[in-house]
């Protein structure tokens, strides 16, 4: 009986340790890699959106230049480039992601080159500068964004895998078996030797029970935190990313209109409907918001979008009336300001959600941090106490 109990305890401890190790490792990977990749990727996309909006303003300013917009452009490109580097540093051993990031980095260099070439041409009064800037737009839209999306999709899948740790419930089942074994051992000793309670076995039972309670608490806390990180914070981050992507698309289309002098920003009203419509992304974002602060920030993002969209309408109006200079002035002035305001407020929301995501994941890591060591200690303690309990009986019997 003693040996059988020990075998059960050691087997259960081993299974629990393996599961705990996997649980802790998954949670730490979310904190150190997956979560960081997903969040930074969204910031990379936002940075490109801001960079390009500023680049167009600088371009349209021509020889006069626009230092503030130039500064914003350079800072945004720096953030985007360092974001790509940061993601590359934490994606781990994933050749597909590394390849996508290398391509994104190479395209960033190409993008910067095109922006500079377009700007130089604009300063020289060369009309090809506009085409070059439009090429730069396409590099972001058709090149960099899809490459970043490749990484995002892969790590989104990783996140789903890493947050699904229900197999850890097996450790409760096996420790329940330990509990049963200990109770049966107690009953066996009672029937065989008429001792009502064997203290070491009783203690072993309490330790096993305490371990189950602790592991259960840690597991459910971890799951709850990861659910909040994934379901609240990250979903908001993802929707914010979609919003910024759509806004950037609109801004890019608007720039193309101004550069070509053609009125009618492609898909303008559709984008506005997707964002600000009754079933638009702002409504989704508001639904995902779990605090009054977050809801207030969503309201501000939506209001700043409306301001930008109104300025964008003025550009279209000027183009329709053939007032190209006015359209350019609004694009690089009022619309650029409004777009920067929208983008900065969206980024503030992103930062808030990033902090919430990080806090939830850090908490999840903290609560499971001691599970591996706890599994070993609980197993050893239960095994020693059980052995001691049986040893006392055996000694008495002899």
């Amino acid at each position: 009986m003693a040996i059988a109990t020990l075998v059960v305890v050691v087997a259960a401890g081993t299974i629990t340790w393996v599961l705990a190790d996997r649980l802790v490792a998954n949670t730490e990977r979310i904190a150190d890699s997956t979560g960081e990749v997903l969040v930074v990727n969204q910031q990379v996309e936002a940075s490109f959106a801001e960079a390009h909006a500023a680049a167009v303003s600088v371009h349209l300013a021509g020889a006069d230049g626009d230092r503030e917009q130039r500064r914003l452009y350079e800072l945004a490109i720096e953030r985007a480039a360092s974001g790509i580097e940061r993601v590359a540093a934490v994606v781990g051993d994933d050749p597909t992601s590394h390849a996508a990031l290398e391509q994104a980095a190479a395209l960033t260099t190409r993008y910067v080159g095109l922006v500079e070439a377009g700007r130089s041409a604009a300063i020289d009064g060369d009309a090809t500068g506009d085409t070059t800037l439009d090429d730069a737009t396409q590099v972001v839209r058709s090149g960099i964004t899809p490459e970043v999306a490749v990484v995002t999709e892969r790590f989104q899948a990783n996140l789903d895998d890493q947050t699904s740790n229900s197999v850890f419930l097996l450790s409760f089942a096996v420790f329940l078996v330990v509990l049963v074994a200990l109770v049966l051992g107690q009953l066996y000793l009672y029937r065989r030797f008429h001792r009502i309670v064997n203290p070491p076995l009783f203690l072993a039972t309490l330790v096993a029970l305490a371990w189950i309670l602790y592991a259960g608490w840690a597991f459910f806390q971890q799951q709850s935190s990861l659910d909040a990180a994934d379901g609240d914070a990250y979903d908001s981050i993802a929707v914010s990313g979609q919003i910024q992507e759509l806004a950037f698309e609109h801004r890019a289309a608007e720039n193309t209109s101004v550069l070509t002098g053609a009125s009618g920003v492609a898909g303008g009203s559709e984008v506005d409907e997707l964002l600000a419509g009754e079933r638009g992304l702002f409504v989704s974002l508001n639904t995902l918001a779990d605090t009054d602060r977050e809801r207030a920030m969503v309201t501000e993002v939506a209001a700043r979008w409306e301001r930008y969209f109104e300025a964008s309408g003025s550009i279209d109006g000027a183009l329709s009336a053939g007032r190209l200079e006015q359209a350019e002035a609004i694009t690089s002035g009022l619309a650029a300001d409004a777009f920067n305001g929208f983008n900065a407020s969206a980024e503030a929301l992103l930062l808030d959600n990033r902090e919430q995501f990080a806090a939830e994941v850090d908490f999840a890591v903290d609560v499971v941090r001691w599970l591996r060591l706890g599994a070993i200690l609980a197993t050893i303690l239960v095994a020693l106490l059980a052995w001691w309990g049986y040893a006392i009986r055996i000694q008495e019997y002899r």
Binding site: L75, A303, A338, A348
Partner: protein
């Protein structure tokens, strides 16, 4: 550091505040209903930097006592006053950046500040607080060049004019490192919005060279207005708001944003970590971001308002207020705004503080 004089030395009468009543103010924000009556809000600001009538007329004043102290004489001695005993403090942008970095200020309770949406987008893109989650700009100003055409015998339009031989010994300078060195950096073709120790040292060296040649008659803070008024100096590095005030008395004094650019700065509301009346502070901030209230305050302080809609409000009021709405110093056009640089700060804060200290000692303002 010894105490420095304030940059905000307004003529007492500025005011004209007068005319504006608050009867037209926006209805009380719904969030104010969350306030508990009787809780005092402690506000620390620069001298003469608010229309004090507003402190009793804003909606928050109906439910809270506002303990307003105009004791922030400068960012150096002011920093020593900074602490959780205040609910709102208004350091200049570069100091606010340092306070945020050090964790000395807390996130704004944005759910209580719906008027946060009225922040001019130009103030949302600072790298140290993108989207303004920790601060709300109070007033902004431009450090450019003011001159008396009768004494210069020519128009001034370049930062180089501050260093021009024909003005040697007739130029007054402001002893704020980030503004003086920043202007010199602009003259050198460097970007004070993204300063490095090397470019800032080059700017400082340029000032030292000119100083050694006797270019500058004095270094100080708000003395330049009196010096221009009395004809002691022909030109001065100057703060825009002070010149707008001076122009009421001396309309011939000219303020220019140099062709190469000028320095923009702003003082900004922050809530110290550990502040006791955060809800009250939020309500106060929200009130001053109501365009009508902000317009009244702008009419008093005559600096650049960071609140959207202020120009429209001033125009709606007509008379002197409407004239202010047309003032290019208070409401710079896009072309001017594109030439304004806001000091960006060093990556290494200690290096910046070291340069600041050496500059202050050299300029004799320490």
């Amino acid at each position: 550091m010894t105490a420095r004089l304030s940059r905000r030395s307004f003529l007492a009468g500025a005011a004209a505040t007068a005319a504006l009543g608050l009867s037209g103010c926006a209805s009380r924000p719904t969030t104010v209903t969350e306030l508990t009556a009787g809780r005092t809000i402690n506000v620390l600001n620069w001298p003469d930097y608010v229309d004090t009538n507003l402190l009793t007329l804003i909606p928050t004043a109906a439910s809270r006592a506002i303990e307003y102290r105009a004791e922030w004489e400068d960012n150096y001695s002011g920093e020593e006053l900074f602490g959780p005993q205040w609910d709102i403090v208004m350091p200049t942008n570069w100091l606010a950046a340092q306070l945020i970095q050090r964790g000395d200020v807390q996130q704004l309770p944005l759910e209580l500040i719906p008027n946060h949406v009225n922040i001019d987008p130009a103030f949302l893109t600072n790298g140290w607080d993108r989207g303004a989650r920790f601060h709300m700009p109070w007033q902004a100003g431009i450090t450019g060049i003011a001159y008396d055409p009768a004494l210069t015998d020519r128009d001034l339009s370049s930062v180089e004019d501050l260093f021009a031989p024909d003005l040697a010994g007739r130029v007054s300078m402001i002893g704020e490192m980030r503004e003086a060195v920043g202007l010199a950096m602009i003259a050198n073709g460097d970007d004070p919005a993204r300063p490095t120790p090397a470019t800032a040292e080059a700017g400082f060296a340029r000032l030292q060279d000119a100083g050694a040649r006797g270019q500058f008659v004095s270094w100080g803070f708000n003395e330049f207005a009196d010096q221009l008024r009395s004809g002691q100096v022909a030109a001065a590095m100057a703060w825009s708001g002070d010149i707008v005030q001076l122009q009421a008395e001396r309309p011939d004094i000219v303020f220019v944003v140099p062709d190469e650019g000028a320095i923009q700065w702003f003082d900004t509301m922050v809530i110290p970590t550990g502040a006791q009346s955060v809800v009250g502070a939020a309500s106060f901030m929200n009130d001053f971001y109501d365009p009508q209230i902000a317009a009244q305050n702008t009419q008093f302080v005559q600096y650049i308002s960071p609140v959207l809609g202020v120009a429209d409000e001033l125009a709606r009021l007509g008379g002197d207020a409407a004239a202010l709405a047309q003032n290019p110093i208070l409401f710079p056009d896009d072309a001017t705004r594109s030439r304004l640089f806001t000091w960006g700060g060093f990556d290494d804060t200690d290096a910046e503080i070291d340069l600041d200290t050496r500059f202050a000692e050299w300029a004799g303002v320490a």
